[in-house]
């Protein structure tokens, strides 16, 4: 056996081009497989960790804008600055009787561009509403929508910034940017919501105070209040926020029920529990990895096929070798074994190179894509992630090398000895 292995290796060295071409194909396939799968595993883990802080009893709603809402938004801004808006609309909620109603409106806080009402029937005493709470005033109602009233609801911090200790309800604001109002429409404040963490962060980051907010501070200022601000002269508020409503239920099973209702009854496209967020991201990642694996499979198949073709062509030049070995006492099985060993060596060597290259890429480049630590990535480099490509590679080369080898050994010895 030792001599056969040695002979196989020296034959692989002899047919350098064939060996190299096959190995390159295998290396690419194995590298892509390893990087995609290990990075995919790390990514899924990363997502899981990311959403660990999100209570498992909660629903996160991030509703995508409907086409109709997009048109309304565009019209509102006369086609300008729409790019500043995230495609997600804010979803707020209010309580009506014994139901939870979700009101979706445009991404400018408090401006009733459009809204839809969803409700979760009679889950009373099963939920806590975390944000935002309607502190005073009223929520939006159907008349607001039907009559297209210019009414708005704003967060309490903005109310305080804009109106100090005065009652903000019934006051009017205009929507715009630091370089001027976008239109002259005035919106009447009908309700005040509790602050969301985003709002508080924004105010804190900008260190907004009544007196020193400049008209030209920065175009990214989410809130603009003119220098000559006073409570009776409010020009406009500019506020871009991607907000999400989180409802926390006391029983975990209610999360599933609420999700089911939101998704299937009301066709809310983006309502998540922690599990569903994680599952969706996991599934998306898995789908990508599956597609990559499919590509790898095709690559391996192509590589195997080219190995077959190369082997068939190179067999003509290897026929004398087969003839000599047969003349020296090699049986068909012996010759097949030799080709089998050659193909295993090819597959093994290609796979090892591919694995080394894959690990190199995982430790050098992959961490920079999503800032996942190397140790976390390598933690997902499990035995099955190493053994599978090894077996896959060996199976490819042996499977595709078998038929040409069988064809070769079936040749008449006398005729193959005459090839030289």
């Amino acid at each position: 056996m030792g001599l056969i292995v040695k002979n196989s290796i020296s034959i692989l060295k002899t047919h350098k081009v064939r060996t190299l071409l096959t190995i390159i194909g295998i290396i690419i396939g194995i590298t892509v497989y390893l990087v995609a799968n290990v990075y995919g595993d790390a990514l899924i883990y990363y997502y899981k960790k990311m959403y660990e802080g999100f209570d498992s009893h909660s629903i996160l709603i991030n509703e995508a804008l409907t086409p109709d809402q997009v048109i309304r938004l565009k019209n509102f801004y006369n086609g300008e600055r729409f790019s500043y808006f995230n495609r997600y609309a804010t979803m707020e909620l209010h309580i009506a009787d014994e139901e939870i109603n979700f009101t979706v409106f445009g991404s400018i806080i408090g401006v009733t561009l459009d809204f839809h009402n969803y409700h979760l029937p009679s889950l009373d005493s099963t939920y806590n509403i975390e944000k935002p709470l309607l502190l005073c005033g009223r929520p939006f109602n159907n008349d607001d929508l039907v009559l297209e009233r210019n009414v708005t609801i704003i967060h309490s911090s903005f109310a305080k910034l804009l109106f100090g200790n005065s009652n903000p309800l019934g006051q009017h604001i205009t929507i715009g940017r630091p370089d001027g109002p976008l239109n002259t429409d005035k919106y009447m404040i009908v309700g005040i919501l509790s602050d969301t963490p985003d709002v508080l962060r924004t105010i804190d980051a900008l260190n907004l105070r009544y007196s020193d907010i400049s008209f030209t501070d920065t175009p990214t200022i989410p809130l603009y209040i003119p220098r000559d601000f006073n409570t009776t002269n409010i020009d406009y508020v500019d506020y871009f926020d991607i907000d999400a409503t989180i409802i926390t239920f006391r029983n975990k099973k209610d999360v599933s029920l609420a999700l089911l209702q939101l998704k299937h009854v009301y066709k809310v496209t983006r309502a998540y529990s922690r599990e569903s967020v994680h599952n969706e991201l996991t599934n998306e990642t898995k789908s990508i990895v599956d597609i990559i694996n499919l590509i790898v499979l095709v690559m391996m198949f192509t590589s195997g096929l080219s190995l077959s073709i190369i082997l068939i062509f190179s067999f003509k030049e290897r026929l004398p070798e087969i003839g000599i070995k047969k003349a020296l006492g090699g049986s068909n099985g012996d010759i097949l074994l030799q080709f089998f060993i050659e193909n295993i060596a090819l597959g093994l060597f290609g796979a090892i190179c591919g694995l080394i290259l894959g690990i190199f890429l995982l430790t050098t480049m992959a961490p920079f894509i999503l800032q996942i630590p190397v140790s976390s990535i390598l933690g997902h480099l499990t035995w099955d992630r190493i053994v599978t490509p090894l077996l896959m590679s060996i199976a490819t080369t042996t499977a595709f090398g078998f038929l040409p080898a069988l064809w070769g050994v079936k040749q008449n010895i006398v005729s193959v000895l005459r090839y030289e």
Partner: protein
């Protein structure tokens, strides 16, 4: 090993190459088979060497009939009992001389390797200096000596030579004949050689001359 060819026939498509060929080659003889090109001498040699099978007739080695149907037994027989020296050398070009000589042991019991025979053959064929060289850089004469060493290293009972001097100059050819004769005489092995030359008739113990089959 004595060899008996009994009424062997062989045709290729419509052409009859061997028709009821009979011969007996006694043990430890240097046997020559002669005939013009295409008369069937190489075909007969291939059948005796178990590289090809007859359409009909029997082949006996030491009075034991050969079963041409069992490929694994034929391979075993070729490896253990028969050595081949081909006109075109049939060395593995990218292997070294040593690796070429050791090739038969890929399929044989390693205990069969006889280091003293190896040393003697190396000396007889004068290839000690060539052992580390790749075989495709050798001259024709050197290649043939390596091929002969490879054929004899397993100490086969029967050595089949298909015009081994065909590609050699007269000096090398004569030298090869002398070496084979010596091996036959001292090792008591049977050597069957196909040739179309009359030049080496004196080396043979017996000669079979082919009548061309029409």
């Amino acid at each position: 090993m004595n060899v008996k060819v009994d009424n062997i026939c062989k045709s290729f498509k419509d052409k009859v190459v061997l028709k009821n060929t009979n011969m007996f080659i006694s043990n430890a003889s240097f046997f020559g088979i002669k005939g013009s090109s295409g008369c069937g001498k190489s075909t007969l040699l291939n059948i005796i060497g178990l590289l090809d099978k007859p359409d009909s007739g029997n082949l006996y080695f030491d009075d034991i009939a050969i079963n041409f149907k069992c490929q694994s037994k034929l391979a075993f027989f070729r490896g253990n009992k028969i050595g081949f020296i081909f006109q075109s050398y049939n060395l593995m070009p990218k292997l070294t001389v040593y690796e070429n000589i050791m090739l038969p042991f890929m399929y044989l019991d390693k205990n069969k390797f006889n280091s003293s025979l190896f040393d003697r053959l190396i000396e007889i064929f004068d290839i000690k200096e060539l052992l580390g060289k790749q075989s495709d850089v050798l001259s024709g004469g050197e290649k043939q000596r390596v091929a002969a060493t490879r054929a004899l290293i397993t100490s086969p009972e029967l050595v089949i030579c298909d015009e081994p001097t065909g590609n050699l100059d007269s000096n090398n050819a004569k030298y090869m004949m002398e070496l084979l004769k010596e091996f036959c005489k001292f090792e008591k092995k049977t050597i069957i050689m196909v040739t179309h030359s009359n030049e080496y008739d004196s080396f043979f113990d017996d000669i079979y001359v082919f009548d061309e089959v029409k």
